[in-house]
């Protein structure tokens, strides 16, 4: 087992990784930017190393500084968290080349799933259902037009080097296709330095349902069930729940079986998530995330499994502690992503936290690095806390969530807590009756 792990991330996930390490008796190294010197995980870590100024390119994306920090602290392994360098295949490769263990999948698999076209082709090969679409990149209008006819409008033009919902344009009919194609390509070039695009069927009212998988280096693979992440604004998830209100046991077992077969064939290592659009009882693969996800806690609450702990164990070469038969899903869990933003305009609200009082009680979990007096910096994404509840039933979880949100005090800045409170009162949400477009309509209406 590792003696020391370097946490190449910040904020709540860095604290999450630190906690898993400490519970395993592993020493932690927190690398941080100048402005994060007082972050909670930096204060708690066994060692900390300042690696650069606030801008991510100078600090958290500064691979050389991270390697230097790992060298001078004699770290054994590096956990990349989510975002930042976690899905940078070159970084994963360099970590190994420098003699450290990368807590995650191989660079090859990160690369494969990072390119949305090769990922989709691979899924077809592995027997995972995909969204009907072009076989590879599309460059000409004529081809796009023919394909769109074949697939059926509306269609979606997507950047193959994109992901996370960025670089996508809808064409509702043949008149829109040329314009959609050219804007998608120029946006893709601007955002991802790669103008390669492909076409897919645009689903009208799907849900976003994803499956958590884990695989070790001994050939064992399991799935840890599904999460429903349909509540999104500008493709950013706001609230997630497990299990999905839309799936039944059979559907879950079926898709779970398909994805575990796929990662076994792939020889995948570590944690991963298959993201699907789910409509009319059918699953359509959109992308695979080769890292830990923000919303992993809801899966942990219903399975009782510490996913970060398993990631570390797998990376250390140990066999997983669970087989599929050991996995049971108990109750229901909901997570609210609390951002330092206006709950109505979503304008960022960095600043100094005044009074801070997180909720507690049975079935309530808060993953956050916040504390009274902490300065939320403006240089990073706005997620400052995750409030997660668990209940024996979805109704119990909802009541608990409502109660916990009302207890939560974060003074000094604006947060999205009021938005979550409004969500909890909404009949559609309470009934679990929403799709990926629902939240944008809800916040548009105010």
């Amino acid at each position: 087992m590792f003696e020391k792990v370097l946490i190449a991330n910040r904020g709540e996930i860095a604290l999450r990784i630190h906690r898993a390490c400490k519970e395993m008796g592993i020493a932690t190294v927190a690398v941080h930017s100048t402005i994060d010197a007082d972050a909670m995980h930096v204060r708690l870590a066994d060692e900390s190393v300042c690696i650069g100024e606030a801008p991510p390119s100078q600090s958290y994306l500064n691979a050389a500084a991270i390697f230097s920090a790992a060298t001078i602290t004699n770290a054994d392994a590096i956990h990349p968290g989510y975002g930042l360098l976690s899905e940078n295949a070159d970084f994963a490769q360099m970590v190994e080349e420098h003699g450290f263990i990368f807590i995650g999948p191989t660079a090859d698999h990160i690369r494969m799933m990072g390119d949305k076209i090769t990922a989709k082709d691979k899924m077809i090969e592995l027997g995972v259902p995909v969204v009907p679409g072009s076989k590879g990149a599309v460059t000409e209008d004529k081809v796009a037009r023919e394909l769109a006819e074949e697939i059926g409008y509306p269609v979606l033009i997507k950047a193959s080097g994109g992901g996370g919902g960025r670089g996508m344009k809808v064409a509702n009919n043949p008149d829109e296709i040329s314009h959609a194609l050219s804007t998608a390509r120029s946006e893709a070039k601007a955002n991802f330095d790669n103008d390669e695009v492909y076409i897919e069927k645009y689903l009208g009212a799907p849900r976003h349902v994803e499956i958590q998988v884990m695989a070790d280096s001994h050939g064992n693979v399991i799935h840890l069930g599904d999460r429903d992440c349909s509540l999104q604004r500008r493709h950013q998830k706001l609230l997630e729940e497990a299990p999905s209100p839309a799936l039944n046991t059979e559907a879950r077992a079926e898709i779970g079986g398909r994805v575990t077969k796929a990662i076994k064939k792939l020889g995948y290592l570590g944690a991963g998530t298959f993201e699907f659009l789910y409509e009319n009882g059918e699953f359509f693969f959109i992308e695979m995330n080769t890292r830990l996800q923000v919303e992993h806690p809801v899966t942990e609450m219903i399975t009782g499994i510490d996913i970060v702990r398993e990631q570390i164990r797998i990376a250390a070469g140990l066999p997983m502690a669970y087989t599929q038969d050991d996995i049971a899903f108990t109750g229901h869990s909901i997570e609210c992503r609390i951002n330092a933003e206006s709950p109505t305009t979503f304008a960022p609200s960095p600043g100094r936290i005044g009074d801070y009082h997180p909720p507690g009680g049975l079935g309530v979990r808060v993953d956050s690095g916040l504390y009274a007096g902490y300065q939320v910096p403006s240089h990073y994404d706005s997620l400052i806390s995750k409030l997660i509840v668990h209940g024996k039933t979805r109704n119990e979880a909802l009541m608990r969530l409502r109660r916990a949100l009302h207890e939560y005090v974060i003074e000094g800045i604006e947060t999205t807590i009021p938005l979550h409170q409004r969500l909890c009162e909404n009949p559609d949400f309470v009934n679990g009756d929403y799709d990926i477009h629902w939240l944008e309509k809800f916040v548009g209406l105010k």
Partner: protein, 153 residues
């Protein structure tokens, strides 16, 4: 760079009491590489904890855990900080004489020490001419971005 150790509050309390009871101005207690020094400044006693230094034997090194002076050092106008994470070396190669010592006068651009990162040696040059007042890191000490290496006056 901070390497934290659990603080033995009982020990420090007891040392402070001994200081007062016996009318002493300074009391130091140590075990192996660990020393705790309690001293009476005007208006009360101050506690200094010296963390173990790295394997180097440079007598001018001072542990970064000296919290009472750390804030003063970082904002000193003559502080020369490390531009990167790495390992500081006080001489051009093992066995060679150190680039500088306390009390030396240096000219602008003169190499003061090296910081090694990713197997490359990076010279730390004097930003202007001055007198070396303090050297804060020992030979082969790990340094973080922004860490104060020395004070030039």
């Amino acid at each position: 760079m901070t390497r934290k150790h659990p603080v033995d509050e009982e020990l420090i309390k007891r040392l402070s009491e001994l200081l007062d009871e016996n009318g002493l101005t300074e009391l130091e207690y140590g075990e192996g590489k660990w020393h705790v020094r309690v001293s009476r400044a005007s208006g009360g006693s101050a506690v200094h904890v010296a963390a173990p230094t790295s394997s180097a034997t440079d007598a001018t090194s001072a542990g970064n855990a000296e919290e009472t002076s750390a804030a003063n050092i970082a904002s000193h106008p003559g502080a020369v900080t490390s531009p990167m994470v790495g390992t500081a070396y006080s001489a051009p190669e093992p066995g060679a004489p150190a680039f500088i010592k306390v009390g030396d006068t240096v000219s602008e651009g003169q190499t003061l020490m090296l910081v090694e990162a990713m197997k490359t040696m990076n010279p730390i040059r004097a930003p202007r001419a001055g007198l070396v007042a303090q050297i804060l890191v020992g030979n082969a000490a790990p340094v973080e971005y922004g860490e104060v290496l020395l004070i030039l006056e």
